[in-house]
Symmetry: T
Subunit: 144 residues, 12 copies
C-alpha cells in the first residue's frame, strides 16, 4: 500500500517551535521514524510539507494517481481552508487527520476542523505517534 | 501497566445499533480483541460499561488506586457531562478519549467534547481499532 | 399491543408540585386512568418512573424485548440528555414524547427537546390526557 | 360544542406534496374523517383553508362569535406570523396547534413556533390523527 | 415551453423606486422586453405581480397545471416567506430566483433568501436582464 | 394637509383585546378623536385598517397620489414585514410609526421594528394620543 | 403640574454637533421653546443637563420630592447605563424617553435602550418637538 | 431547625483535587467543622454526598418530610442539571447554593448556574466557610 | 482589621425602592447593624455610598492606604463598569462582592458581574446579612 | 471586448468531482463551449485556473491592463478569501461571480460569499451555462 | 500646535498596577517624558487624568476652544463609553487612541474599542512610547 | 539593527487603490521613505511584498536567521490567516502590526486581527507613517 503524508504550514519548524506544545523532535526525525515503520510494514510513504495552501491542494490532487490513502496534518489551514476540504472530498481517498497537540484542549478556534467532515477520522494530541497510528488505521480497512 | 477502559451509555447495544455508523461488532467482541491485544503486550485491562453518569464518575475515582491510565468512550455524556470532566481532571491519570464514529463529521452537538480539554488526546472515527491505538499511545509515554 | 410508559425526574411529585402548571392529579391517579383506558383498548402498559437518567436509558433498552412502542415524558432530561436520545434512536421503537404543560410556552430552555428529532411525534400542554392521546396514536399505525 | 379548524398555506396541496413527509391523504379526505368523528361526538366543525395570512387572522376574529375553541395548523405561518399569534391571544379561545409532520425533527427554522406561547398545547408528528386528538383534548376541558 | 414570471411586492413601483438601486425601467417596460424575447424564442410567458404573499402562493399552485418552470423575483418576501418556499417545494417545477440588485452586496437581512434552498438557481444584480438569463437557463435543461 | 392613518393587524379588536396593554377605547372611538382633532387643525385624514400585509402595502402605494404623510401602526407586521419597509422607502412620504403600548418594554421580538429605519420617527407607549402627537409632528415640518 | 427635563451627555453641544442629525437649534433655544410652551400650559419645568451619569441619577432621585413626571433624553447613556434604569424604576415617576434623531434608524447599538423597559413611552426622531410631545402626554394621564 | 447539606459530584475527592482551587481540607474535615458549628447553634444537619444526579434529586425529595432548608453545592451538576432545578423548585424549601471556588471568576461555562433561579441565594468563592455562612443565613429568616 | 464597605448607585434609596426585591431596611439601618457587628468583632468599618462610578473608583484607590479588604455592592455598575473591575484588580485588596437580591435569579443582564473575576468571592440574595457574612469571610483568611 | 474568466481551487477536477453536484463536463469542455460562444459574439476570453489564492489575486491585478470585465468562480475561496475581495475592489473592473451549484441551497458556510459585496452580480446554480450568462450580462452594460 | 492628552480611569496608579502588563513608569514619569519631547518639538501639551467618565467628556468639550488634536488613553472606558465616542465625534478634532498594553492580545472585551470608529487611528501595545508616536502622527498631517 | 518589513496582498496596488482610504503614495514611494529613515537611524531594512499567504509565511521563517524584528501589514490576511499567526508565534521575533487605514473604524470583519494576539503591538490608521512609528518602537526596546 502507498500513502501520502501531508504536513501543513509551520510544521517545518518542528522541534524549535514551542516544544512544550509540539515536542522536541524535528520534522526530519519524525519523518525518519515513519519511514522506518513503513519499511517494517512494507508500505510506501511519500511525504510533503508546504506552507502554501495551494500546494497542499495540488499534492492531494496528484495523489489520486497513486496513493491508497492520506494522512494530513494541515496545521493552521485545518481551521481556515475550505479549499483543502473540497480537495479531500473530491479525490475520495480515505484520509485521516492528525494533530500533534490536542486541538480540542486549546483556543476555541483550534477546536473546529473544517476538513474533519470529509475525513474518515482524526487523531489529536498523541504527538508524532499520531501519524503512525493513523497509518495503522489506514492499513486496517475493516476497523470500522 | 494497567489501564481502565470505560464505555459510556448505549455502547452495550453495539453491533445492533446503527451498524453503518458504529460497526457490526458487539461490545463483547471488541472487548475480547482488546484483551487479546493486552495479553500480547503484557498489559492489564479492566473494562467497565455503564449507562449511569454517576457510575462512570465512580469508576474514574476508583481507578486512582490502581490504574496507569484511562481510555474512555463516554458516548453521549461526552457532550453533556461536566461531572466526567471534573472527575478526569481530579484524578490526574493520563486519559485518552475514543469515539467509534468521527464525531467531527456528524451533528454540530457531537463535535464539542466537554471532556477533551482535560484529556491527553482524542481518537475519533477509527472504529474499534481506536481503543487499541489509544492504548498504544498510553504505553508510549514519550510520544509527545 | 404492549407499550412502555416512561416518567422522568420529579414526576413522582405530581399533584403537589406547582399544580397550576402540572395539574392536581398524582402520578398514581394518572397511571390508574391510563391502565383503565388500556384495559378498555385491550393493550398492555408497563409504567416506570425514575429520577435517574441511566435508569431511564436502561428501561428503554429493556423495552426492545417486549414493547411495541414507548410513550415518554422525560421531564427535565428532555432538555439535557443526549443519552436518552441515543437510546431511543438505538432501539428503533416508535416513540412519542409527552409533556403535561406546553413546553413551547415556557422558558426558552424548555422549548428545545433533545429527544424530539428521534421521536415520531410530540404532544405538549394537554395534561394527563396527552399520555392517552399518544397511546391512541401508537395504536393507529396508519395515521401518518 | 363548536370548533374552528384552520388549515394554513399549502395544505390545500396535501396528498400530492411530499407524501413521505405529509402522508397521502388529501385535505378533503382528512376533513371528511374529522367531520365523521365530529358527528359521532356530536360536535360541530367549521373548516377553513387559506394561503393568505390576513384571511387566517380574519377567520380567528370571526370565531369569537360562535366557536368554543380552535384547532390550527398554520403551516409555514407557524414560524413567521406574529399577526396570527396576536390574533389567537386577542380572541382568548382555547387553541391547539397541530402539525402533520414532527416539526421538532426537521429544519431548525421549523422547530420554533411563534404561536405556541399563546396556545394551550401542541400535537406534532401524528399525521391527520393529530387534528382529531386535538379536538378530543378541547372536548375534555378538565385534562390540565 | 411555457413559463410563469412572478413579481413580488413593490415591484409595481419599478422605475420610480430608488432608480439608482433598481434601474429606471418600469415594470411594464421590463415585461415588454421579456415578451419580445419570448416571441423570438417561441416560448410563452404568463406574468403576475402582487403585493400579497398569499396571492403569490396561489399563483405558484396554479402553475402546476400548465407551466414548465417559474422565474420569481419575490422582492421582500424572499427574506421573510416560508410559505413561498413551501409552495415552490410542493409544486416541484424548476424555479429560478431573480433579483434586480445584488442582494449579496446590501443589508445583511437581504443576503439570506428563504426560497433559495428549493430553487434550481439564483441570478442577482444583473437588472432586468436577469429575468431573461433565467429564462434562457430554464430553456436549457442540460445546463447542470 | 392630508394624511393617511394606517392600522395594522388585530387593531380592529381594540378595546376588547388585552385592555391593560392596549387601553379600553375601541378603534372607532380612537378614529373619532383623531378626526375631531383633524377638523380643529383643518387637516384631512384617511383611515385604513387591514389584517392583510398586502393590503397595507397597496394602501401605502395609493397614498403617493394624494397624501402629505403617513402615520402607521403596523401592529405585528412591524416586526416581520420587510415588504412594508420597502413600500415606505419607495413612496418617500414622511412617515411616523406609532405603537399604543411601549414596544421597547415588552418581549424581545417586539423591540425590533423592521420599518423604523425608513420612518422619520417613532412614538411608542403613549396610547391613542400617540397618533395625534405623530400628526402634530407631521404638521410641523421644521421640527428636526 | 411640575416636570423634570433631563438632558444627558453631549447635548450641551447641540446646534454645533452634526446638525444634519441633531438639528441646528442650540440647547438654550430648545429649552426656551419648552419654557414658552410650559407657560402657556401653566406647567412648571426644571431643566438639567449633565455629562455625568451619577449626576443624572442624583437628579432623578431629587425629583421624587417635587416632580409629577420626567422627560429624559439620556443621550449615549441610553444605551449603556443600567444605573439610570434602576433610578427611574426606583422613583416610580411616570417617565418618557425622548431622542432627537430616530435611534431605530441608526447604528445597531443605538437601537437598544436600556431605560425603555422602565419608561412609560418613547418619542424618537421628531427633533426638539419630541420633548414637547412627551410633555403633552404626561399632562394627559388618561391617554393609555 | 434541621437542614440538609448536599455535596455533588467529585466533592468526595476534596483535599486531594486541585488544592489551589478547592483548598486542602477533606470533605470529612469540612463536615466535622459544620457539625461542630451546628452543635453550638443547636441545629441539626444531615449531610449527603453523591456523584449521581438522580441520587441528589432523590435526597431533595426526601428532605420535604423533615428539613427546614437546604444548602447545596451541586458541583458540576450546577451547570448541567435541570432535573436538580426542578426538584428544588418542586419541594419549595429555602435553598442556598454554595461553591468553594468563585465560579464567576472561572471558565465561562461555570459562571452559569441552572439552579440559581430557584434558590434563595448563592455564596461563591469563600471556601468551606461558605457552607457555614449559608447556614447562618437560613437560620436568620428575616435577613431579606 | 479595617474594611471598606462600598455601596453603589441607587442604594441610597433602600427601604423605599421595590421592597419586595430589596427589603424594607434603609441604608442607614443596614449600616448601623454592620457597625454594631463591627464593634463586637473589634474591626473598623468605613462606609461609602455614591451614584458616581468615578467616585467609587476613587474610593477603592484610597483604600490601598489603610484597608485590609473591601466589601462592595456595586449595584448596577456591577454589570457595566470595567473601570471598577480594573480598580479592584489594581489595588489587590481582598474584595468580596455582595448583592441584596439573588442576581442569578433575575434578568439575564443582572447575572453577569464584570467585577466577579477579580473578586475573591460573591454573596448574593441574602439581604443585608450578606454584607456581614462577607465581612466574616474577610476576617477568616484561612477559609479557602 | 475582452474578459478574464477565473476558475478557483479544485475546478480543475470538474467532471470527476461529485458529478451530481457539479455536472459531468470537464473544465476543458466548459472552456471550449465558452470560447465557441465568444467567437460567435466576437469577444475575447482569457481563461485561468489556479488552486493558489495568491495566483488568483495576481491574475486579477494583471487584468487591469487589458480586460473589460471579469467572470469569477472562486470555488472555496469564495467563502474564505478577503484578499480576493480586496483585489476585485481595487481593480474596479465589473465582475460577476458564478457558481456551478446553487450555493444558497447547500451548507451554511457556502451561502456566504465574501466577494459578493464588491461584485456587480452573481449567477448561482445554473451549471456551465452560468458562465455564459454572466458574459452576456457584461456585454450588456445597460442592463442595470 | 497644542494637544490635549487624556488619561482615563486607573491610569493614576501606573507603575504600581500590574507592572508586567503596564510597565514600571509612573504617570508622572510618563508625563514628564512627553513634556520633554513637546519642548523639543515646540508643541504644547495639556495633560488631564480622571476616573470620571463625565469629567473626560467635559475635557474633550473644552478642548474645542484651544487644541489642535487629542491623544486619549480611555482605559476601561474605551470598552464601555458611548458618551466618550459621541464627544469625540462632536468636537471633530483629530484624535488618536493609545493603549499601553496590546488590547488585541488580551481578554475579548478589551479588543473592542467603542471610540475607535471616530478616531483617526490607534496605537496599541507600545508602552509609554505610544503616546509620543501618536503625537508625532498628529504633527504630520499629511501622513494619510 | 535589522528589520523585515512585510507587505501583504494588494498592497502592490497602493496609490491607485481607493486613495481616499489608503492614500496616494505608491508602495515604492513608501518604501523609499522608510529606507531614507533607516539610513538616518543606521538600521537595515529588508522589504518584501507578496499576495501569497505561503510566501509571507516563508519570509517570516527566513527572518529568524538575520532579523531583530518584524513590521507587518498583512492586508486582508490579517483577518483570515491563522498560518501567519502561527508563523509569528513560532519565530518569536518582536513583531508590530501596521494598518494604513484605521481598521477599527471599518467593516466588522476588519476589526478582528488574527495575528494581533501574537504581536507586541499594533499601529492603525496613521498611513505610511505607521510603518516608521512601528520601527521607532522596535528600536526602543525599553518602551514597554
Amino acid at each position: 500500500m502507498r500513502f501520502l503524508i501531508l504536513h501543513g504550514p509551520n510544521l517545518n519548524l518542528l522541534g524549535t517551535r514551542e516544544p512544550s506544545l509540539y515536542g522536541t523532535l524535528t520534522l526530519n526525525e519524525i519523518n525518519a521514524r515513519l519511514q522506518q515503520w513503513a519499511r517494517l510494514q512494507q508500505v510506501e510513504l511519500q511525504i510533503v510539507q508546504s506552507n502554501h495552501e495551494g500546494a497542499l491542494v495540488d499534492a492531494i490532487h496528484a495523489a489520486v494517481a497513486w496513493a491508497d490513502g492520506i494522512v494530513i496534518n494541515a496545521g493552521a489551514y485545518t481551521h481556515t481552508s475550505l479549499a483543502l476540504r473540497d480537495a479531500i472530498a473530491a479525490v475520495k481517498l480515505p484520509t485521516i487527520e492528525v494533530h500533534l497537540s490536542n486541538i480540542h484542549a486549546r483556543e476555541a478556534f483550534r477546536r473546529r476542523s473544517l476538513i474533519a467532515p470529509v475525513c474518515r477520522g482524526q487523531v489529536s494530541g498523541l504527538g508524532w505517534l499520531g501519524y503512525q497510528l493513523a497509518l495503522e488505521a489506514l492499513c486496517e480497512p475493516t476497523s470500522n
